[in-house]
């Protein structure tokens, strides 16, 4: 950077020094021409040319550096085209004004044309100054224009573009250098002619590099159309009317050749530009729209990865569609809500009552979730007429287009051309319907209909084939984005559910007894395995009375699984723990009260089967009652039997029928007697042949293991079920086993 600045100072210094020397020389020549013309040798022209060359070269590099430094590092143009026209026009005006004023203020400049030798010397000091002023201002202007045009030519360059341009510039420069020492009016030497011809040829090649025109905006093009003639005119005025070309020639013939070449090239380039602008102008609207489309599509595709909220996608989709079809268009998005397995019938019924519902059948409905420049009322009016649009999309997922709402057979209009023609004349004073032409595209991702993007215009035939393609592309992109968002949503939901289930599982595990109860002369042990994360099985022990002579044992199965079952379990535990102490004598009474309490809190369709026994450790007996639960097994001696007691599950009935049906029984337990409580997970376990584990096998295992401890019997049953289901079978439900055993004295 510092290097660059230093270089620029050096260039500036070179320009300054050479110009001062040159100016002094010219003033000297004027006085010499006035006094002693014989002192002037033509050799002095070489000195002048050399000085002018240095000055011109330094000035060119300086301007180039300056323009380059003022631009963004990676910008294709150092001065943006639209900017260049503005600056070019104002600078040429300034230049012309400056030189014109100078010409007015001082005597007209001229050079001695008659005298061969005096032609070298300026006519007056003013003339000398004007010569250098013109060079420094207009010369600088031409060089700057040359640099700017170079960048324009190199925009979107092809392989040879740069070579062509350099060839032109260098042959022009070399042609100029070849004329070193010549005077104005001298015949050009052959070398110069050769170089200049090459330069001229290359100019023609370079003139038609205009790729920068297309991308600039339409209004910029129109402005350029007016500014280009200003610049061309300005250059022409300066060169001819203000006679700057003569001053250039007086400054240095060689450099003037170069500058003139530049002036001609730049003017021609502007003329070609002018015509191109005229040609491109009609196409530029289409080009601009295409580039907006491309931009929008790009933004849309970025959306897929960036935005995860469905609602935002709907909004931006509608926004993009409206951008693409102009600010006057109407756009909205109808979401498709299918009634599937996962949507509960009740939910879908609630959804169907939404006010912004478009259309529905037994499989699903559409509802408007985003709209722009259109009211729900308008959409409603339209959709009540054009129901077929949504039916078509739901059934066939095809694009629907209506060219003229008032003249569409599908909307019940008569296709009479005359009537329609006449209708135009009594036009729309009473009708304010803005949806006149209409297009709807389905959003489909992975064969699933997500919804319909609808765009409408307030005039007939507002959509052509390209529009459909465009909107279809939008729809595809958006469908992907929505699908993506849903997948991620589902993942997040699943994870959250998993977390909830873990919490429920923890709660549930804590609801189960952590230790075995102390019961003199008895052993109790139990276990519960949920089939899924959270189960619906529950067992518990409640010491009854202060002396803890009696113990309540409950095994229950809450219908339904998951988090709600865990909550019912918690409720059940509270009820059991409190009621067991209030009704210490009768398990039947206990279950009646428990049913009353629990029925109130239970969801419709949920129920709890429960078996409740009160173990009296003193009387060695078991008082048993059953509310719709699997019958307990009693093993006495080497005989196992089921204690079948009638009773309804808790929650099936609120009171009367339950109380009428419930029974209880008393069993005396002898030493070594075993009672097994269990849930249906045990008897409904299946093997690979779909055969149930069943009551008989369970009783058999209990009978077989009767001499073991309660824990061992429990384990034996559990292992037996596992062995049974191994190799292709399944435990389809939660599995709970509680074993009570009277110990031998």
């Amino acid at each position: 950077m510092k290097e660059g600045v230093r270089f620029r100072y050096a260039l500036f210094l070179a320009l300054l020094v050479s110009e001062i020397l040159h100016l002094s020389l010219d003033i000297g020549l004027f006085y010499a021409g006035d006094a002693k013309p014989y002192l002037i040798s033509l050799g002095i022209l070489f000195v002048k040319d050399a000085l002018a060359c240095v000055a011109a070269g330094a000035m060119y590099l300086l301007i180039r550096r300056q323009l380059q430094a003022s631009a963004q590092p990676d910008a294709p143009f150092w001065v943006a085209p639209e900017d260049a026209f503005k600056r070019g026009a104002s600078l040429i005006a300034l230049n012309v004004a400056l030189i014109a004023i100078y010409g007015r203020l001082f005597e007209p400049s001229d050079f001695n044309p008659e005298d061969e030798i005096l032609a070298v010397a300026p006519q007056s000091v003013y003339t000398a100054f004007k010569t250098h002023l013109s060079f420094l201002t207009f010369g600088a202007y031409l060089l700057a224009m040359f640099v700017v045009i170079e960048r324009l030519i190199l925009f979107r360059r092809a392989r040879n573009t740069k070579v062509n341009f350099i060839l032109m510039a260098t042959s022009l420069a070399l042609g100029a250098v070849a004329t070193f020492g010549a005077r104005k009016g001298d015949a050009l030497n052959l070398v110069a002619i050769a170089f200049l011809s090459v330069a001229g040829l290359m100019m023609i090649v370079n003139l038609f590099r205009l790729s920068w025109i297309l991308p600039i905006r339409r209004d910029e093009k129109i402005r350029a159309l007016f500014l280009a003639p200003v610049i061309i005119g300005g250059v022409a005025i300066a060169m001819n009317a203000l006679r700057i070309d003569e001053h250039f020639a007086a400054h240095s013939f060689a450099v003037s050749i170069f500058l003139k070449g530049v002036a001609i090239f730049c003017s021609l380039y502007l003329v070609v530009t002018l015509f191109s602008l005229l040609f491109y102008l009609p196409a530029s609207e289409a080009y601009e729209r295409k580039s907006i489309e491309v931009r929008n599509l790009y933004a849309m595709s970025k959306f897929i990865t960036d935005v995860l909220e469905e609602e935002k996608i709907y909004d931006s989709l509608v926004g993009y569609a409206r951008d693409a079809f102009g600010a006057s268009s109407l756009a909205w998005f109808d979401l498709h809500c299918p009634y599937d397995e996962t949507t509960r019938a009740g939910e879908s019924a609630a959804m169907a009552k939404l006010p912004n519902l478009r259309w529905k059948n037994q499989n699903g409905c559409f509802k408007t979730v985003a709209q722009q420049n259109v009211s729900l009322d308008e959409i409603h009016r339209f959709s009540s007429k054009a129901e077929f649009v949504w039916r078509e999309i739901a059934e066939r997922a095809s694009v629907v287009r209506i060219d003229d709402v008032k003249n569409d057979e599908r909307l019940g209009a008569s296709p009479s051309a005359v009537k329609n023609f006449l209708r135009r004349f009594k036009r729309d004073s009473n009708s304010s319907e803005r949806i006149v032409s209409f297009i709807a595209v389905p959003l489909v991702a992975r064969n699933k209909l997500m919804g319909a993007l609808c765009v409408a215009k307030d005039y007939e035939h507002g959509f052509v084939k390209e529009d459909i393609e465009l909107i279809a592309t939008f729809a595809d992109q958006a469908a992907l984005a929505i699908d993506n968002a849903r997948l991620i949503r589902a993942l997040i939901d699943k994870e959250r559910l998993q977390q909830e289930l873990l919490v429920a599982q923890k709660i549930q595990l804590r609801l189960l007894p952590q230790t075995q109860p102390k019961a003199s002369g008895f052993e109790v042990d139990g276990v519960s395995y949920p089939a899924y994360e959270v189960g619906g099985d529950y067992y518990d022990y409640v010491p009854i009375g202060d002396d803890e002579r009696r113990i309540g044992v409950i095994v229950a199965d809450v219908s339904g699984k998951g988090t709600s079952a865990a909550f019912y379990m918690a409720e059940l535990k509270g009820v059991v723990q409190s009621l067991a102490r209030i009704y210490p004598d009768s398990p039947k009474e206990f279950l009646c009260r428990a049913n009353e309490t629990i029925s109130r809190g239970l969801e419709k369709g949920s129920f709890i089967s429960a078996i409740y026994g009160i173990v009296d450790t003193e009387r060695k007996s078991l008082h048993l009652s059953n509310a719709g639960h699997c019958p307990a097994i009693v093993v006495q001696g080497d005989e196992a039997r089921f204690i079948e007691i009638k009773g309804l599950a808790l929650g099936l009935d609120k009171g009367a029928i339950f109380s009428k049906n419930i029974r209880e029984t008393r069993i005396d337990l002898n030493e070594g007697d075993v009672v097994v409580f269990y849930t249906d997970g045990v008897v409904e376990a299946i093997d690979k042949n779909n055969e149930l584990f069943g009551y008989w096998r369970l009783a058999e295992v209990a009978r077989h293991s009767r001499r073991k401890s309660a824990s061992e019997i429990k384990n034996d049953i559990f292992n037996a079920v596992n062995a049974f289901t191994n190799d292709g079978g399944a435990v389809r439900d939660d599995l709970t086993i509680v074993v009570l055993k009277r110990l031998a004295a």
Partner: protein, 118 residues
Amino acid sequence: MATFNASVRESGKTSVIDVSGDLDAHTAVQLERVFEKLISEQRANIVVNFSNLNYISSAGLGVFMAFIDEVRSKGGDIKFANMPEKIYQIFDLLGFPSLYEIYDDEKKAIEKFQTNAS
């Protein structure tokens, strides 16, 4: 997954739902929908024919619980018919026979509706 199907037949003013396959927590929604539809059509006399049902879970039983009050409040009923033994055992265990009328034959259930109506 096990399949489940519930289809409705009309027999006069009585609707007969034929259930087949496995009625569990996943498939219960289908049966719910059938009940909802019947109720919305004011068809409250409902007989459920279980002859082809293979398995019923507690969630499946819950479906009948969920709709019985509404159906009865409309003057109708849900009656069960043609239960295979193992299905009946489950209903019996939970005490359903004291809450619902269960018939061997679907015709008897339909007749019952008719005699009630006359």
